[in-house]
């Protein structure tokens, strides 16, 4: 590739802290848009996806602690129980960190197949807490895991493109 990064070296792309924080912020804002009805059921969990992206690509920068903190803010915003999103994102980040070497070996389509069970596990943790406290589970909630997994490829492409260094226009 012209800019010096081969296809299999995408994981070596640099990422500055500002960009990581910005991407998480945008994801949180997308999650907080006023979704309701079927759109809410089908809404991919942008925060979970971006967290998972950074956990698999930069596991030493974004870890379980940050995922937990983001989860606490999500709990306040969604008025869910304290720790409900936090637990789900903790499980997700752990899965991402443990599997990050394996995920790197595959291309994007195969990656989404790896990401789907992780997302399902995280959605399951959230639903399990809800079931234990309130006594019922809305099954359409799990549709979000499917749409999130489908969004993995476009989101990864977008973040990779934004991370790739721009060529200096003054260069020959």
């Amino acid at each position: 590739m012209s800019n010096g990064y081969a296809k299999d070296q995408e994981f070596l792309l640099p990422a500055n802290t500002g960009f990581i924080v910005f991407s998480l912020f945008v994801a949180v804002m997308l999650n907080w848009l006023p979704w309701h009805g079927w759109a809410l059921a089908l809404r991919p969990d942008f925060v979970a996806l971006v967290l998972l992206y950074w956990c698999t690509h930069k596991p030493h920068r974004i870890g379980i602690g940050i995922a937990w903190l983001v989860g606490i803010f999500a709990d306040v915003a969604d008025a869910s129980l304290f720790g409900q999103h936090a637990l789900a994102y903790t499980v997700l980040a752990f899965g991402g960190i443990v599997l990050h070497r394996r995920v790197q070996m595959f291309d994007l389509r195969q990656q989404s197949l790896h990401v789907f069970p992780l997302l399902l596990l995280s959605y399951g943790a959230y639903a399990a807490v809800h079931w234990q406290v309130r006594g019922f589970v809305a099954w359409e909630y799990f549709l979000g895991a499917v749409t999130s997994a489908l969004l993995w490829t476009p989101m990864t492409l977008l973040l990779q493109a934004l991370r790739r260094p721009r060529r200096d226009p003054n260069e020959l």
């Binding site: 907080w32 379980i64 803010f73 306040v76 720790g83 637990l87 443990v98 807490v129 019922f136 809305a138």
Partner: protein, 306 residues
């Protein structure tokens, strides 16, 4: 001898497994404390104030779209709407003059019968800021909070009927649980027959259920259910729901009755919070029964025991 521990060249702090265990236990602890006790409400309020500006920011695109739509509304629709409203106003005015006569008569009768007069409930207007983004719940947030003297337990209505109840207040926001929420129930009375019952939310936006009614209960399709005012939480005679379907299957002990909420939650932005409630005498202490929540907790406890 031979050391089976993995060599770690770079010290990166505790291992992922240790972190997973630590943060999971922390989450579970928070969950337990939050679901059983009230200790974390103040922390939640502080965090809610911190994220409030960002939440307003996310509501902006929708509001902007709404105002653009209003701007481009054609003159014709406005004219027809105006004519319609005028007609409605005339009809209402005629009815209102009748109502005033009836009110005066009623007041007089009540004085004669030595009954406590019906109070007019002070209301304040509030606007829906955004709907809850949790698929498990039917809740919304309105733009009046504890700064405007909104208190948990107050009833929220629109021009058609009861919308829900304030369940949590923040300084500038309050959370309204809709009558269609799965955990919500309203004591009602059938306007036609006077039959009292409780209507439950179903978790579905336009469905409610009237449970535990005997097959012989005097309820037909189209009946309007109004609040009975018996519990002292809801003011009496506010419309709540309309019966849409009655299934009487003798194989079951109870009739299956489905209702539709009258208030249009997804139609308006403005709601009214009813802030004054009739003072009821204290309930006798001996008659206090365990609430549904305690009952459930007890059951769960029993089940856990071998």
């Amino acid at each position: 001898m031979d050391d089976t521990r993995t060599l770690r060249f770079f010290n990166r702090g505790p291992s992922p497994v240790a972190r997973l265990v630590f943060f999971s236990v922390l989450s579970l602890l928070l969950l337990f404390v939050d679901s059983r006790f009230q200790y974390l409400e103040s922390a939640r309020k502080v965090l809610a104030v911190m994220i409030y500006p960002f939440q307003r920011l996310t509501a902006l695109p929708g509001e902007a779209l709404g105002s653009v739509a209003v701007y481009f509304e054609t003159q014709e629709t406005l004219l027809t709407e105006n004519a319609q409203l005028r007609q409605q106003h005339d009809a209402d005015a005629a009815q209102l003059s009748q109502l005033q006569a009836i009110l005066a008569e009623n007041a007089q009768l009540r004085v004669l019968m030595d009954l406590k007069g019906r109070v007019d409930y002070p209301m304040q207007m509030a606007e829906i800021v955004y709907v809850e983004r949790d698929i498990f719940k039917r809740k919304l947030l309105v733009n009046k909070g504890s700064q405007a003297n909104v208190m948990p337990g107050q009833v929220v209505v629109d021009d058609f009927g009861v919308v829900g109840q304030v369940t949590r207040t923040y300084p500038w926001l309050s959370e309204v649980t809709l009558v269609t929420d799965k955990d919500h129930s309203v004591p009602i009375q059938n306007q036609r027959s006077g039959l009292r019952a409780v209507v439950f939310g179903s978790g579905d936006i336009n469905e409610m259920a009237l449970r535990y009614m005997p097959v012989s209960a005097d309820i037909v399709e189209g009946d309007v259910l109004v609040t009975s005012g018996i519990d002292g939480t809801y003011p009496p005679n506010l419309p709540v729901a309309k019966v849409t379907r009655v299934e009487r299957d003798p194989a079951y002990p109870f009739a299956r009755i489905t209702c539709e909420p009258l208030a249009g939650v997804d139609r308006h932005r403005a709601l009214m919070i009813v802030s004054g409630l009739p003072e009821l005498p204290e309930r006798p202490e001996a008659a206090v029964e365990p609430t549904a929540e305690q009952e459930r907790a007890k059951k769960r406890f029993k089940r856990r025991k071998p």
